[in-house]
């Protein structure tokens, strides 16, 4: 499968935090959700992709090109949305359009106005009077109006109410009707991802723990509940993480079919949510 982002052995050291030998490939034509706790390295990774942070070592390719020689070519084809405010507060969307449109070869005013209308945004009001949700939509309009091939978003749903989030997810799905588009975005609201993401990348303490398709997660991961007495040294091997309550246990397994064979009706094998997967990976003994 064609890759849109390829990170190979990336290293970056900060005081108190580091990313070591990070490897990550993002497939073209799909939505990839990027999850992990706060401070796990999501923003750092996204900033390295955007060349806002320079890795100490390693290879980084976007559309198969490196920033060194092709930074401008790459960024012409990227749309970005960040969770902090990067647009001048006193300016209106019309002002921002005037400033940003000439930067992109493929800027399309028709697309711009379509999104403004769709999101019901005021053209002439300064951004500083916008609500959090409107700001996100404004960023989205400015990110999408040059018809980017790759859309990178850092926590676009943070602090947004469910209605706004639904609009965003619908927009993402609309974009994905075009198979040449790819979307990579970080979020901590995992329920948003479970429906629309094709792949989920989970990062913890600067390490990529997994990069799976949503089908793999739904099919191969399961939540198992049962009596504590069922767990002994042998059966323990079949689980990846176990948490015990008084007489019962809850565990994550990557072999739900084998568990069903071993325990039969003695345990409950349930669908596991992304949130629960993260919870288990994040620190159950």
């Amino acid at each position: 499968m064609e890759k849109v982002i390829e990170l190979e052995n990336l290293n970056k050291n900060f005081p108190g935090f580091s990313i070591n030998d990070l490897n990550l490939n993002i497939n073209k034509g799909y939505v990839t959700g990027f999850v992990g706790a706060n401070g796990s390295g999501k923003s750092t990774t996204i900033k390295m992709i955007m060349n806002l942070i320079k890795p100490d070592s390693g290879d980084l390719k976007i559309f198969g090109m490196e920033h060194g020689d092709y930074e401008k070519t790459i960024k012409q084809k990227i749309g970005f949305v960040y969770d902090d405010n990067i647009y001048y507060e006193g300016l209106s969307l019309r002002d921002l359009q005037k400033i940003i449109a000439p930067v992109y070869h493929d800027w399309n005013n028709e697309t711009f106005y379509n999104y403004i209308e769709k999101f019901e945004l005021p053209l002439n009001k300064p951004i500083k009077n916008f609500s959090k949700g409107m700001r996100m939509k404004a960023s989205l309009v400015l990110a999408l109006s040059h018809n980017p091939e790759l859309i990178i978003m850092d926590e676009p749903t943070a602090g947004l109410d469910p209605v706004f989030r639904k609009d965003l997810l619908k927009t993402i799905q609309e974009i994905m009707m075009d198979e040449d588009k790819s979307i990579f975005f970080s979020t901590h609201i995992t329920s948003d991802l479970e429906k629309i993401a094709d792949y989920i990348v989970f990062i913890k303490d600067g390490d990529i723990i997994f990069n799976h398709s949503i089908n793999t997660l739904q099919n191969d991961f399961a939540l198992v509940k049962g009596n504590r007495s069922l767990i002994d040294r042998d059966t323990e091997q079949e689980f990846d993480y176990i948490s015990f309550k008084e007489d019962t246990f809850e565990a994550m397994t990557k072999k739900p079919r084998k568990i069903a064979e071993i325990f039969g009706d003695e345990v409950i094998i349930d669908k596991i949510s992304l949130e629960e997967i993260m919870y288990f990976f994040n620190g159950v003994e």
């Binding site: 942070i53 990067i86 507060e89």
Partner: protein
């Protein structure tokens, strides 16, 4: 390049109305014409810096299709463009009010401004965001104070040049060239710092 000029002008559309009154204040309170050229040249570029500081504009600029070399270079070239505009504007105002000035006033005034810029632009890269407004204000007050005290000597100096026997145009050219070289070195320092920065 166009992006940067356009951005500065759109950002400052309100402040630009104050540009002419701002110059007029100095025209009527200061006697040394070269100082007026210095102060007028400061206006647009330093306001632009103050605006950039309010938001994380480096994050925006570096996410747009620009290289870090371009971002720093356009800041320096843009400053030269605004300086040219300020020279025209101040000259017109001075002529309108019948205030005498010479080409040396322009040369020395602008050289002064470019030296201030050469010194402060790299500083902005070293200090953290959030301090920039402070730096601008301090640099502004300091340079105005410094200039006011120096102005007498400089007036004498420019008179001396005007009256001396040395080839004036040669001296003038050497002055302008050295200032431009310092300005270029300043850009190079700024770029060297900016190149490896994390945003």
């Amino acid at each position: 390049m166009l992006y940067f000029l356009k951005r500065d002008l759109i950002l400052q559309k309100k402040l630009l109305w104050l540009y002419v009154p701002f110059i007029l204040i100095f025209v009527f309170t200061w006697s040394s014409p070269f100082l007026i050229f210095t102060v007028a040249a400061l206006y647009i570029p330093y306001n632009a810096l103050a605006y950039d500081e309010q938001v994380n504009s480096d994050k925006l600029l570096n996410s747009l299709p620009y290289t870090r070399l371009e971002i720093t270079l356009y800041r320096y070239l843009g400053t030269l463009v605004y300086t040219a505009v300020s020279i025209l504007l101040v000259s017109m105002i001075l002529m309108l009010f019948d205030k005498p000035f010479t080409v040396y006033d322009i040369g020395i005034g602008v050289s002064f401004f470019l030296l201030i810029a050469s010194f402060t632009y790299p500083l902005f890269q070293i200090f953290k965001q959030g301090n920039i407004t402070t730096i601008i204000i301090v640099a502004f007050v300091l340079s105005i104070g410094l200039l006011s005290t120096l102005s007498e000597y400089l007036d004498d100096f420019s008179n001396a040049i005007a009256n001396s026997a040395i080839d004036q145009s040669l001296l003038f050219t050497v002055l302008i060239l050295s200032v431009l070289i310092i300005y270029f070195i300043s850009w190079f320092i700024t770029y060297s710092i900016y190149r490896t920065k994390d945003f």
